[in-house]
Amino acid sequence: MKYRIAIMAALAVTWTGSVLAQAKDPTIAGIEKYREMLGDDNPAELYEARGEILWKKAAGPKNVSLEKCDLGLGPGVVKGAYAKTPRYFGDAGRVMDIESRINWCRETIQGFSTADIVKKPFGSADKPSEIEDLLAYVVTASKGMKISPPNSHPKELEAFALGEALFHLRAGPYDFSCGTCHAVDGMRIRLQELPNLTKTADAKGAYTGWPAYRVSTSRLHSMQWRINDCFRQQRFPEPKYMSESVNALITFLAVMGEGAEYKGPALKR
């Protein structure tokens, strides 16, 4: 009798599994096929190419390039810098993600004003913003490296702890936190699978999934944008671009995703 129940349970599990596989098949298989067709050709490369030109071009009120920018590994070192962020920068006195740091260099080296930088950080398909081009260039230079934010300076540990708390903070008209959808294994919203960002396995894929070129919007989206849009869907007010809260959340995600191999900007539907 026990034996039979066990078999029935096994059958039930298999059957449910195949139904789910069928249900998600068209979307996910479609994306996989599209990725395969594109191979290494991610339109994010167009951003990267523009970004490299921008990085090396004298610009801003001070008319200098970003080539002396210190992304954490010393002035001018771009290779591998992204993989070691977010980190604490002594000159700025705070923890920054890579996008905040590039903007810091645009302000301090090139002389752009904060107002210029925060005016329109997220571009559109027709008008990509310069920071997204620069970002694509910088992150691509960490291709093949392991995500390894230092997470050792007291400010970095503080950022992680604040990020974790913000991740679980329920507020807004729907009482949602990030964790409402992203702190449990194997859940879906509609057919979209939801990564459990409190666990390393899922967090690795999620963290290296941004920045990404989205085919449906025909543009590159940064991690700053990703966090911004999560809060829109959570029905919160808007998190300020590059604010301590956003950088704390990115720190939390980066530390959770530690050890993942970075493969360059992702490609999403």
């Binding site: 594109l38 050709d41 339109p43 167009l46 190419a49 025909s218």
Partner: protein, 103 residues
């Protein structure tokens, strides 16, 4: 000014696999902007692929192709070092040409 194309040309045996990523709006002329105004059509009309001085693809494309399109071709008889030149012309007369050597 248009973005440079990303071209890869990799030889396996005597077949060169050529892949090209083009930065272009490929606007269909059927979309409207936020103000309800039609966005004028702007798309690549013709493209050519030249390998070692010989045109191997001379094609016409249109508005059914996505923004930032990717194309792939296989060319028989190519040798390492052959120059691959890819060019396009759009409906506004803008054009672009980029090249790479078969590796």
């Amino acid at each position: 000014m248009s973005d440079p194309m990303k071209i890869r040309a990799k030889l396996s045996g005597d077949v060169a696999e050529i892949r090209v990523l083009m930065g272009h709006a490929m606007e269909t002329g059927q979309r409207k902007d936020a103000a309800g105004k039609t966005i004028p059509a702007h798309f690549i009309q013709s493209m050519t692929v030249e390998v070692a001085g010989k045109i191997v693809v001379d094609g016409q494309i249109g508005t059914s192709v996505s923004r930032n399109p990717v194309f792939g071709f296989k060319v028989k008889g190519a040798k390492a070092g052959d120059k691959v030149v890819i060019s396009w012309v759009d409906n506004k007369g803008d054009k672009r040409s980029d090249e790479v050597a078969v590796a």
